[in-house]
Amino acid sequence: MSEVLRVENLSISFGGLAAVDDLSFSVSDQEIFGLIGPNGAGKTTVFNCITQFYKPDKGSVWFTVDPERLAARRQKADNAEGQINLVGRPVHSIINYGLVRTFQNVEIIGELSLVDNVLIGGHVDFRASMLSQMLRLPRARAEEKAYREKAMEALDFLGIGHLADQLAGGQPYGVRKRLEMARTLMAEPKLIILDEPAAGLNESETDGLAETIREIRRRYECAILLVEHDMGLVMSVCDRICAISFGKFLAMGTPAEIQQDPLVHEAYLGERDDV
């Protein structure tokens, strides 16, 4: 299976403290990949390094981009495998390549309707000039209409289409989480990064979430990389898991392998006295 993301020797430190230390892993096409580790292991830092919110001190983040997408953006791949290195690129350019993320503490716009929130996810696809939007020329209107339909599809897909015209601010937490996921779908993603999607959800909502994540992969044919504390979810939904501790690579494998791994046990539960 071809890979969509390859993180190579990633390192970043804050004030001399290594948050991520020489970490490498890769995510295959249409794979659901979990990144786990105890609190403070540097999981979200890894995400932020991939999406360029943080500039890593060392290492590279290779991302496979569809040739058509690159051609449309008039860009060239950085290596022979048709990949680009995300490190050093502006944060707002990352979504262009088909890599999109959600946030741990749901970042949606309360003053806008649900459908407008989803449309933000399609921001980079709008081609009409600023002037034609200001004057609401036919081209801008046609574009707006087309993307609005696409946004409605994403909302319907996540089962919140009937709320499309309501303000996002007044919605319950579960709806806001779904809304944030719907927004990622607008970008025609190759890889979606979910930062603790189950945080704050109850048990039955979490079960629904696992199904939703699989559905997203099936329907949108993309890979999903998630950080999650809910082990039930991670073990049930992930194809492969990478465990880290204090920013260092610990273990990698299927859920069953990870559950058996002594190093993972140690990191989570502390050293066993009786061994």
């Binding site: 919110f53 502006p90 707002h92 407008d116 921001h123 980079v124 089962g159 579960g174 709806v175």
Partner: protein, 349 residues
């Protein structure tokens, strides 16, 4: 047949652009009333300034309301527009249209240049940076006598538009047309792709960037639009009043424009217009006529100061929010609300 007509009419009335046109048509009656002596010329003048300040405040609303950026430099850019309009019309004798265009373009370009430097800093630092720019402009207005005639004040004339020698009533109509166009433009900006980007930026810069919004570009856009509106307001001010003094373009004006946006309600076009009326016209038309109170020096500033405090404490949504609450109280609740709530619970179960 009549029912389909009334349905079509009701739908048209919900269209914001139609509402703006109706408002414009109603405002165009004012010069006629003034010509017939039904309203005083001084009242018409006051209302003209209300509309000019409303245009400027709508620019600041794009900045403060939608983008979450603050500017204390509005007065400087408005004054710049006024002096450029006067200079191009009276010194260079290039006519109304060139003067208007220059008063739009030059402040906007300067605004963009200022933005490139100052938009890298945030909140209070941006306020200080824009205040400095405004003070520099104010000092320039006082010193550059070839351009502004300094503290003696720049005198101008009513412009000639399409060969017509205008007067104050005619200029009022020009202001109304400009206002309606600006309201439509603002509406288009905020209800679409651009507006969403501004919303995203205000809500969370981090999330906006993750969604591909180039934050600096949209900050510059909002800043440029705000200076464009201020330049237009300045030019209209000059053509309406036919004079400009440096003392008009001080910090108090910038603060008053902020008051208009806050009192009217952030992110509301009609609210901003109402805010401009309350902040500028109420002291002029009502308070000054009152016994005793009317003689207090600096009354308008006291009034807008108290109003800002009251609005922020009790009506954070401003006049717009107040109007919404009244409308909400007056409309009977549709029975489907409870059903919707059930659906929400179902979806989030």
């Amino acid at each position: 047949m009549t029912s389909t007509w009334s349905a079509a009419a009701r739908r048209a009335l919900k269209n914001s652009h139609v509402q703006f046109l109706i408002l414009g048509a109603a405002l165009l009656l004012l010069p006629v009333l003034s010509a017939n002596g039904i309203i005083k010329t001084s009242t018409l003048s006051t209302l003209g300034f209300v509309l000019i300040y409303a245009i400027v405040a709508m620019g600041l609303n794009l900045l403060l309301g939608y983008s979450g950026l603050i500017s204390l430099g509005t007065a400087g850019f408005m004054g710049l527009g006024a002096y450029i309009a006067a200079y191009v019309q009276d010194n260079l004798r290039l006519g109304f249209w060139v003067a208007l265009l220059a008063a739009l373009v030059i402040p906007t370009i300067i605004g963009i240049l200022v933005g490139v430097v100052s938009l890298r800093v945030r909140s209070i630092y941006l306020a200080i940076a824009t205040l400095c720019i405004s003070e520099i402009l104010l000092k320039t207005f006082e010193q550059a006598e070839w351009f502004t005639r300094g503290t003696a004040g720049k005198q101008s004339t009513f412009p000639v538009i399409f060969g017509i020698h205008t007067d104050r009533r005619f200029m009022f109509s020009v202001i109304v047309i400009a206002l309606v166009l600006i309201m439509m433009l603002t509406h288009n900006i905020v209800h679409g792709h651009l507006g969403r980007a501004l919303h995203a930026m205000r809500s969370s810069e981090v999330a906006a960037q993750a969604m591909g919004v180039n934050v600096l570009k949209y900050k510059l856009f909002a800043f440029a639009m705000a200076t464009l509106y201020a330049g237009l307001g300045g030019a209209l001010y000059l053509f309406f009043l036919r004079s400009s003094y440096p003392s008009s373009w001080n910090l108090f004006l910038s603060l008053n424009v902020i008051a208009m946006v806050v009192v009217g309600g952030l992110r509301s076009i009609f609210g901003t217009l109402a805010g401009a009326f309350v902040i500028f016209a109420v002291p002029e038309l009502v308070l000054k006529e009152l016994p005793v109170v009317g003689d207090i020096p600096g009354l308008p500033y006291i009034f807008s100061g108290i109003l800002i405090v009251v609005v922020i404490m009790f009506f954070p949504q401003g006049l717009k929010g107040l109007a919404d609450r009244v409308r909400h109280a007056l409309t009977p609740r549709p029975p489907s609300v409870t059903k919707d709530a059930a659906v929400v619970q179902e979806a989030t179960r």
